[in-house]
Amino acid sequence: MPEITTAHYVMLSAALFSIGTIGVLTRRNVVIILMSIELILNAVNINLVAFSNQLMNMSGQAFAVFVIVDAAAEAAVGLGIIIALFRNKETVNADEIDLMKW
């Protein structure tokens, strides 16, 4: 059974990141966009943990914990914004939210 190397982790991370990015750019539902952001963050986490393991340095894992916390906070704020948005516009469709132009 071939050993799982850092390169595998990085490829997984890259795949997750790509899926997340595509999700952010293509999906119209803001909730899904938020979930896609979670994917991106977790892709980063995998990167951090993988390199921490390879370099035998615990700082990376500590960073991963920080990122998880950050993700939780971000999710809270993001959902709050979505609720506020929905109250005002009665929609969560990103295409219909275009107030930020000149």
Binding site: T21, V24, L25, T26, I33, A94, D95, I97, D98, L99, M100, K101, W102
Partner: protein, 684 residues
């Protein structure tokens, strides 16, 4: 008691009376009013009498009492460049001249107050009448007692005001109101001249006090005929013309007869109208320093005397006749002043105050008896019905025509004699005019007497049985004035008739400086003339007076038809005289309508075209400029701003297209950006 110390109180008694009438008059019963008002004048008279008695005991015969400096002033430059400080004092001067005036004013004034108690008894506004009368006494006493020109002017304006108020006493009558206004306006014209004269005095002498002005003027620093004196004298004389009703400013006096008769007697015969003569006599030195002004004064006086006397002959209103007589007699006084005979002028002023007040009061008594009738042709045969009035009126009529030994004889004769002997170039002409006027005076006064008291009664029937003699309060003043008219002239009994002319000597200190000036200038009246000459003049004037009386007798009593045929044969002259030479019409047409209204119109046109034109023009210009400014602002200034904004808009348009406002669009750009950077670092 020291009356001299308290001369300042003399005007204040009537002032207090007037004040009481103003504050409480309406509530006071007539009886109390008739005690307070004549009483206050009586007290003034007593004080004046006491003061004059004590004055005659003084060596210098001059007493000046300054209460306080009324109008202090900062220094100012006089005409000759000197600095001077003037302060008009609230001060009083009692000298022989003002003592004569103050006694006449308070004495005659008191008698007329008493008379008014009877005359005005039935009239409304009783307290108002007496309040005005007392206010008048206050003003008149301030006028004659003031020790400087400004205080004199205060009194001068005060009497003018009271004259206006009293002429318009029957204010519900339009003619009375109009007459009051006329008197006021005409007097203001005179006041203009007076004020100018006063300013010139101030600029020349730096003081307004009579004593200082006289002293400086007589000191010899000024040459005779200096133009400044002519200007001063003529300025003051314009004031005197207005107040003393001289031609051409006499027109207000006949109209002033609209007032109650006691007012005509007090203000428009005995006292106020003589203020001008008093002022000229007071300024005698200023006048004698200007022979030109003297000639003007004498000519105006003589002309007025003759002019008014001719009008008086043709008037049918009893008071109008007396009014023109007053104008004429004032002309005599002014003539006397003009020929340098100031003493004679003041003498005539005094005797005239007696007999003219008596004539007016007598006329008032006649009018009272006839229930208000003033037309001479509706009188007649009153001789026996109102004997006291008749008797006193006769005395006054004899006095005014100058029959010896009545008062008018002495004063009028002195004036005529001194006029003949005066140094004015045309003295014979002036004398001639005075002489003819004496005849005319006799004629018109006796015409009045014959028409009113003699002949057949022409009184309306319903008035006839009402005729009654006036009450005691009216007849007693008449009697007192009759006595004064009879013997008042004896105070100036001429030397030629064995007298000593005490009035002349009494007044001497006041007029002495001007006699010196006249002597120095070679203008002294040549009084060395013999007594024979004086007797001749006396004889002549008595003769002309008798001739005048005879004419009146012939035309108006013996043969009334003759006067009517005369009037029809010379209807042109008669009409001109009856219409007072159309002077009022002339004034109305040319001065009131032509000059005042025309001038007003012209000024209005000037205002509306030139002044308003300037204003409107500048507004129009402003609007024009602001239009241009608006154009500049909108097209040039705003143009720059808008052009730059437009440029930014145009340039920003493509950039704006990128901004969709969609979050995902922005994210895509971010991604592309990252990819470009990454490919740059990885591939580069």
């Amino acid at each position: 008691m020291n009356f001299l110390e308290s001369i300042w109180l003399i005007p204040l008694f009537p002032a207090a009376g007037a004040l009481i009438m103003l504050l409480f008059g309406k509530k006071l019963p007539n009886k109390i009013v008739s005690i307070i008002c004549p009483g206050s004048v009586l007290i003034s008279f007593i004080f004046a009498l006491g003061a004059v008695m004590q004055l005659s005991g003084l060596a210098e015969r001059r007493y000046e009492k300054i209460l306080y400096t009324w109008l202090p002033s900062a220094g100012f430059h006089m005409a000759n460049g000197d600095m001077s400080r003037i302060g008009a004092d609230w001060g009083f001067l009692l000298d022989p001249l003002s003592s004569v005036m103050v006694l006449v004013v308070t004495g005659v004034g008191f008698l007329i107050h008493v008379y008014s108690v009877g005359y005005m008894g039935h009239e409304g506004g009783y307290y108002r009448f007496f309040g005005y009368l007392n206010l008048f006494m206050f003003s008149m006493l301030t006028l004659v007692l003031g020790n400087n020109y400004l205080l004199l002017f205060v009194g001068w304006e005060g009497v003018g005001l009271c004259s206006y108020l009293l002429i318009g006493f029957y204010f519900h009558k339009k003619s009375a109101g109009d007459a009051g206004k006329k008197a006021f306006v005409v007097n203001r014209i005179g006041d203009g001249g007076f004020v100018l004269g006063m300013f010139l005095i101030l600029a020349t002498f730096g003081t307004l006090r009579f004593t200082s002005v006289t002293e400086q003027a007589a000191s010899g620093h000024f040459s005779i005929g200096d133009p400044v004196f002519t200007l001063i004298a003529l300025g003051l004389f314009v004031g005197a013309m207005g107040k003393s009703a001289q031609f051409p400013l006499y027109v207000w006096l006949p109209d002033a007869m609209e007032g109650p008769t006691p007012v005509s007697a007090l203000i428009h015969a005995a006292t106020m109208v003589t203020a001008g003569v008093y002022m000229i006599a007071r300024s005698n030195v200023l006048y004698t320093l200007s022979p030109d002004a003297m000639a003007v004064v004498a000519s105006v006086g003589a002309f007025t005397a003759l002019f008014a006397a001719t009008i008086g002959i043709a008037q049918n209103d009893i008071k109008k006749v007396l009014a023109y007589s007053t104008v004429s007699q004032l002309g005599y006084m002014v003539l006397a002043c003009g020929v340098g005979a100031f003493g004679a002028g003041i003498f005539h002023l005094m005797t005239h105050a007696f007999f003219k007040a008596l004539l007016f009061l007598g006329a008032g008594s006649v009018i009272h008896a006839l229930s208000g009738e003033q037309d001479l042709y509706k009188m007649g045969a009153l001789k026996n019905k109102i004997p006291v009035t008749y008797g006193t009126f006769m005395v006054a009529s004899l006095a005014i025509i100058g029959l010896p030994p009545f008062a008018g004889f002495f004063s009028k004769d002195e004036i005529l004699w001194l006029t003949w002997n005066s140094s004015v170039g045309i003295s014979w002409l002036l004398w001639m005019i005075g002489f003819i006027t004496a005849g005319l005076t006799a004629c018109y006064i006796w015409r009045l007497v014959f028409l009113a008291f003699f002949g057949k009664s022409r009184v309306d029937h319903h008035v006839e049985h009402h005729i009654h003699e006036s009450p005691k309060s009216m007849t007693i003043p008449l009697i007192v004035l009759a006595v004064l008219s009879a013997i008042g002239g004896w105070i100036g009994w001429p030397a030629a008739l064995g007298g000593s002319n005490r009035l002349e000597h009494w007044l001497e200190p006041v007029f002495e400086p001007s006699h010196h000036i006249l002597a120095a200038g070679g203008h002294a009246a040549e009084l060395a003339a013999s007594h024979a000459q004086e007797y001749m003049f006396m004889g002549l004037s008595v003769a002309v007076a008798c001739f005048g009386v005879f004419l009146a007798y012939y035309f108006f009593l013996k043969n009334p038809a003759a006067s009517e045929s005369l009037a029809t044969n010379f209807s042109g002259i008669h009409r001109v005289l009856q219409n007072k030479y159309y002077v009022d019409e002339f004034y109305n047409k040319y001065l009131v309508e032509g000059f005042c209204k025309g001038g007003g119109n012209a000024l209005w046109r000037f205002d509306s075209s030139v002044i308003d034109g300037g204003v409107n023009g500048s507004a129009w210009l402003t609007r024009l400029f602001s239009r241009a400014s608006i154009w500049w602002d909108t097209w040039v200034i705003d143009g720059f701003v808008r052009a730059s904004a437009f440029a930014v808009r145009v340039l920003s348009y493509p950039v704006r297209l990128l901004q969709t406002g969609l979050v995902q669009g922005s994210a895509l750009f971010i991604l592309f950006g990252i990819l470009i950077f990454m490919s740059y670092f990885l591939l580069g």
